[in-house]
């Protein structure tokens, strides 16, 4: 199989986020980026597939701060090729990103090999709607299944397990080529010793591909960005522990929680 994994970094929320002076964006100076969890699962799923049936895994990302680390880590884990799309892309929103990725994956006039599988995050902390997957599938004219927790290749298709709300799961047979939004890999993402990443950084190379940004990188503008506002609905229960316990039971009962 020919597997592509699409990566994107997200703001690291361990570091406190700050709103920039313009009131519409995050303060870049204190911003650090990390790979989002679903991305790590997408990489893991790709490596697991490679281990099961011979596949070539390519990780692809748009140029952004700290993205090289994520690409090298994927190579150290077993990916065969890393590609960074460069250009002036920093502010690209999901649709523009999907356009550029689609152009890279299937340049105009070309067609995708039948054994191509494109894996990416089902969602990320800055894209909870998970727009990019459907955009990309639509642009490539491919089927898309999201919130997937396992991928099993069978001939010209893959059988995927999709999670639904309420603990329901559905099994789908998806003809390849296809775009799959990964929720979690079949196993937790593996650990790769840092020495191995450092060694890869010396021997492997990240290919860079210059892409022409689409006419518009953004489809909507941000009006205002702000921290959650405290509204003071908390109710403090006071008194001895026994009294507090009684009051707590009362509150819970009143709100039909017990």
């Amino acid at each position: 199989m020919n597997i592509f994994v699409l990566l994107k970094l997200v703001p690291d929320t361990v570091e406190e986020l700050e709103i920039a002076g313009d009131g519409k964006s995050l303060e870049a100076e204190v911003l650090r980026f990390k790979q989002s969890d679903p991305d790590e699962h997408a990489v893991e799923q790709a490596i697991l597939l490679k281990e099961k049936c011979s596949s070539k895994v390519t990780v692809v990302a748009l140029e952004s701060p700290e993205v090289d680390d994520a690409l090298f880590t994927a190579l150290a884990k077993g990916a065969d090729r890393a590609v960074k799309l460069t250009g002036n892309l920093i502010n690209a929103q999901s649709f523009a990103a999907a356009q550029m990725l689609a152009n890279f994956l299937k340049p105009e006039g070309a067609s995708l090999p039948a054994d191509t599988l494109i894996l990416l995050r089902g969602q990320s902390i800055d894209d909870l709607e998970g727009e990019i997957g459907p955009f990309l599938a639509e642009l490539l004219g491919l089927p898309y299944v999201c919130v997937v927790t396992s991928v099993v290749p069978e001939g010209g298709s893959v059988t995927v397990m999709k999670e639904f709300a309420g603990g329901l799961r559905g099994e789908f047979a998806v003809p390849m080529p296809a775009v799959i939004g990964i929720q979690s890999a079949e196993k937790p993402p593996r650990y790769v010793p840092f020495a191995k990443i450092k060694a890869i950084q010396k021997t492997a190379k990240i290919e860079t591909v210059d892409v022409t940004p689409p006419d518009s990188l953004t489809r909507f503008g941000v009006e205002r960005m702000y921290k959650p506002e405290a509204v003071g609905r908390a109710q403090m229960l006071e008194g001895a522990s026994e009294e507090v316990a009684d009051k707590l039971v009362e509150v819970l009962a009143k709100n039909s929680l017990i």
Partner: protein
């Protein structure tokens, strides 16, 4: 005890392929297979490959089989095997870390807690995954005022390397506040690195993530170069260990002391200030990195005995025979793994001994032990209350006002 008496450094570049060609490797070849290492190891009975068997496999060309086992994950790097080896083989310093690194590389999965810890230490410079920008918060909260190198902009006598548990965790911060109080009482000219400091990497090195350890070493060495100071003092037994044993391989040549050693040296000035009587019966737990690894057995005991009212009692296993709290070598983040394997937590074994002494206080000198023993006391039944305090906390308490 042969190994401890030899001052020469371990070799930094030794790998499993080259180790037998080094002077240390020659000594490995002299192993008499007596099994003292396995017998003294607190988890020896749970290992498929205790040190004796590892050496045998290495000498006979079957070392790859050792790497396929997760046996080495049970090593808590407590230096018990090394300190008892009659041949003076530097097991904990040279051979075991190499085996650990290969184990880590060859295991299809490593325990999630440990994985997360190693990733956190790489990314945030501390194992708990806290923001690196909050490292200094303890030193500025609650009216504490601790000088920070980048702010005071002048040379100091003592650069105090605070370390992770003592900077981020509430009970560790008690240790740090006590140290600050004692420094001030003694009129020591000191400052900390604040947010510029990152984990010294001792346990990263002992779980032998050499790449991670070297990254941290390179980073901290650069920061040290920025400032002028005469010596480094740390309250963390593991940072002390890293600076003493590993950092010199990377050009580190500052004098380094653990707070216990420093305060013991300052005892003539400190003792008259210890005016408050503490009517505790105390048992002291020897930290592996201070006791077995550095021979600091008397210093913490001298400090405790200098406090008016304190009575010292010993546990069955003490000094060179002390049992590790189970936190070393990555054990701090392997409790779930140990439990899955049906292994008793060493901290529980240890507090049972402490309880048996009838002491009111378990005195410790390594920041890991506070959590490990306080945690263990929650599950080990005991009638008489017993608390855990760092030696420096007791000293600060005895300072009076």
């Amino acid at each position: 005890m042969v190994a401890m008496l030899e001052p020469e450094l371990c070799e930094k570049g030794a790998t499993i392929e080259t180790v037998l060609d080094t002077p240390e490797g020659k000594r490995i070849l002299t192993c008499i297979q007596c099994g003292m290492c396995a017998g003294t190891c607190p988890y020896g009975e749970y290992m498929d490959y205790p040190p004796r068997r590892i050496i045998n496999m290495l000498r006979r060309g079957f070392i790859e089989e050792v790497f396929k086992s997760d046996s080495m994950l049970r090593c808590v790097a407590c230096y018990a095997c090394m300190s008892k080896c009659p041949r003076g083989i530097r097991l904990s310093d040279v051979l075991l870390p190499i085996v650990k690194e290969q184990t880590l590389i060859n295991q299809p999965e490593i325990p999630a807690e440990l994985q997360k810890t190693l990733q956190n230490t790489l990314r945030y410079g501390n194992p708990m995954g806290e923001s690196s920008r909050k490292r200094v918060n303890w030193a500025t909260a609650n009216g504490t005022k601790v000088p920070i190198m980048a702010e005071i902009k002048r040379p100091v006598d003592v650069l105090w390397f605070v370390e992770c548990y003592t900077a981020y965790y509430q009970r560790g911060q008690d240790n740090s506040r006590a140290v600050a109080k004692l420094f001030n009482a003694l009129g020591i000219d000191f400052a900390i690195l604040g947010n510029e400091e990152k984990c010294a990497g001792d346990c990263g090195q002992l779980t032998w993530e050499s790449g991670l350890f070297e990254t941290l070493t390179d980073y901290n060495m650069e920061i040290f170069k920025k400032y002028k100071f005469n010596r480094i003092v740390t309250g963390d037994a593991h940072a002390f260990n890293a600076f003493r044993i590993r950092y010199p391989m990377y050009g580190f040549n500052y004098p380094v002391e653990h707070t216990t050693g420093l305060f013991a040296r300052c005892l003539p000035q400190l003792k008259p200030k210890l005016t408050k009587k503490l009517n505790y019966t105390v048992t002291y737990h020897d930290a592996c990195c201070l006791g077995r690894r550095a021979g600091l057995y008397d210093e913490p005991r001298d400090l405790l005995l200098a406090i008016p009212g304190i009575k010292l009692v010993e546990m069955t296993h003490n000094r060179v025979n002390s049992i590790c709290c189970g936190g070393g070598g990555g054990g701090m983040w392997l409790d779930t793994f140990f439990k899955q394997k049906g292994m008793e937590r060493l901290s529980e074994r240890r507090v049972k001994e402490a309880i048996a002494t009838g002491a009111d206080v378990i005195a410790v000198s390594c920041p890991y032990e506070i959590y490990r023993f306080e945690d263990a006391l929650k599950v080990i039944p005991h009638d008489k209350p017993i608390i855990v305090r760092d030696v420096v906390e007791l000293l600060a308490e005895a300072l009076g006002d």
